[in-house]
């Protein structure tokens, strides 16, 4: 019987070496469980192929990929606004409400758009936030920063796989909003500094992060309970 492997990785952080954009220094975000579907390091294990959703081929795969990440962000911010951290200011309440609105809109947009194009629509994923304290400002901000920066890097790295120019424009319309989000969150964490567009993510050419789908799915995997594959991108 094939099983999805779950690896407990207590104490691990999301700092994946050079992929420091997900490093949550001082927060100690740990991955309590990791579905290995996103990683292809283990040839010795079989995976439950029949029930695991594959994102698909070509543009459909990219759209489902974006949909997965928007589901994650929408889920996270839904939790934030349903239980604002203690002591939240009016300004931050408004900001997180806006983020919640935008990500839910993005999520619902992708569901509709993909459904109109294919029957291979990513199902509703389940998420987990094992070391996020939704009642703690630092924890919520750090997680929001990680998710938004991840979104930017994911879209920037996925653009080249899109063949339909209309889809590319749609992705472009969304990624700049994610970057606006990321900038605002980073500024809340480190006001008055260069963090909004910091040297930790912008290189010497003035270029933002762009990450391959494989790297993104690996890094975000700690939040995603429901396994999926994207064979065309070598994931699962």
């Amino acid at each position: 019987m094939k099983k999805t492997i779950n690896v407990s990785n207590q104490g691990a952080t999301l700092d994946t070496g050079r992929r420091n954009f997900l490093k949550l220094s001082g927060v100690g975000l740990a991955i309590a469980g990791l579905a290995l579907v996103g990683c292809d390091d283990n040839d010795a294990y079989d995976f439950m192929q029949t029930d695991v959703f594959d994102l698909g081929k070509g543009d459909v795969g990219v759209l489902n990929y974006a949909y997965a990440l928007e589901q994650l962000e929408a889920d996270f911010y839904t939790k934030v606004v349903n239980n604002f951290y203690s002591g939240i200011s009016a300004a931050e309440k408004e900001l997180f409400t806006d983020l919640y609105h935008h990500e839910v809109i993005h999520r619902d947009f992708f569901k509709a758009a993909i459904s109109g194009a294919t029957s291979n629509v990513l199902p509703t994923l389940e998420f987990q936030y094992p070391n996020v304290n939704f009642n703690d400002r630092n924890s919520v901000l750090a997680t929001a920063k990680a998710l938004e920066d991840t979104g930017v890097a994911a879209y920037n790295g996925a653009g080249k796989f899109i063949t339909n120019p209309d889809y590319l424009v749609i992705a472009g319309k969304i990624v700049s909003v994610e970057a606006r989000h990321a900038s605002a969150i980073r500024n809340l964490i480190n006001p008055g500094t260069a963090a909004f567009s910091g040297d930790d993510i912008i290189d010497n050419n003035g270029l933002d992060l762009a990450k391959e789908p494989k790297d993104i799915v690996m890094a975000a995997g700690g939040f995603i309970k429901t396994p999926f594959t994207w064979k065309e991108q070598g994931i699962g």
Binding site: L95, D98, H101, H102, V104, I105, H106, D108, F109, A112, A113, S115, G116, A117, V152, Y155, N156, G157, G159, K160, I162, N164, P165, D166, Y167, L168, V169, I170, G172, K173, I174, V175, S176, V177, E178, A179, R180, H181, A182, S183, A184, N187, G192, T193, A194, F196, S197, G198, I202, N204, N205, G206, L207, D208, L209, A210
Partner: protein, 268 residues
């Protein structure tokens, strides 16, 4: 409703490659005494909005000029503009408060890097990068950005929000070269980070709701025209939370023509 069919229709409507007529662009700009100096944009950008990729065009030194390189030349003009603007602002004694200098030094650093990067990219494509235009950041006396910090911030916001939309409008023109496309996306998101920060320093949200720039003068209306859009590929983005949220969740493109026109306001 078949979203995909609607998406196909968008490409027929010249969604991001429409060349606006001169009359249209001139009358759409709030007049403040200066005609849009479209002619002052360097040679080559006039052809920027042709839809099909042009064949190699031998134009004195620009051996491989085409739609893609035209897009990069437009981006370079915008980066020249931002680069000089911030350099001038930072070197104007007493203009930028100490508490804000770190932010503008970071932005300036990026714009300078973007100029260099785009010039190198064009060179690598065997195209001579356009020369830096002569800028007038007062736009013929309409603004005083180097004596009035609030105006410096206004124009900074306008330039950054314009940059985001302009890059977005050129994505389709550079998608034939995957390396260039990815780099353009990576610059585009940096401009969005800049825009968000400058907006928030002006007590605005980091994102654009409806077509309201946020305490911006009417002369900047072209920067925000169209941002009120709440239909994305046939999907009503206002349905869930209203038009402000729906419109803010997506940034809109600027055509190359409209981006040129905005930049021209500041070019002598």
């Amino acid at each position: 409703m078949n979203i995909l069919k609607l998406l196909d229709k968008l490409s027929d409507d010249k969604f991001f490659t429409k060349e606006a007529s001169r009359l249209e662009t001139l009358t759409s700009i709030s007049a403040f005494g200066k005609k849009a100096a479209v002619a002052s944009i360097p040679l080559g950008l006039g052809a920027i909005m042709t839809t099909p990729a042009k064949a190699a065009d031998l134009t004195g030194g620009n051996t491989y000029k085409n739609t893609l390189t035209d897009a990069l030349q437009l981006a370079l003009v915008l980066e020249y503009l931002e680069n000089e603007y911030y350099a001038m602002g930072l070197s104007t004694a007493g203009l930028i408060p100490n508490s804000d200098r770190t932010v503008f030094m970071q932005i300036a650093k990026h714009e300078s890097a973007h100029v260099t990067f785009l010039k190198n990219t064009l060179t690598s494509l065997n195209v001579i990068p356009g020369a830096k235009p002569t800028f007038d950041f007062t736009a013929g006396g309409a603004f005083a950005p180097f004596t009035d910090y609030s105006q410096f911030l206004i124009l900074a916001q306008a330039f950054e929000d314009t940059g985001v939309r302009a890059y977005k409008g050129q994505a389709g023109n550079v998608m034939s070269n995957k390396a260039v496309l990815q780099a353009a996306l990576q610059i585009h998101s940096v401009e969005a980070r800049h825009a968000s920060q400058v907006r928030r320093m002006r007590a605005n949200k980091g994102w654009i709701e409806l077509a309201d720039g946020g305490s911006m003068p009417a002369a900047t209306n072209p920067v925000y025209a169209g941002e009120q859009n709440t239909v994305q590929a046939g999907f009503n983005t206002a349905a869930a939370f209203g038009a402000a949220a729906g419109s803010a969740a997506y940034d809109e493109i600027l055509t190359g023509s409209d981006a040129q026109t905005i930049a021209s306001l500041f070019i002598v």
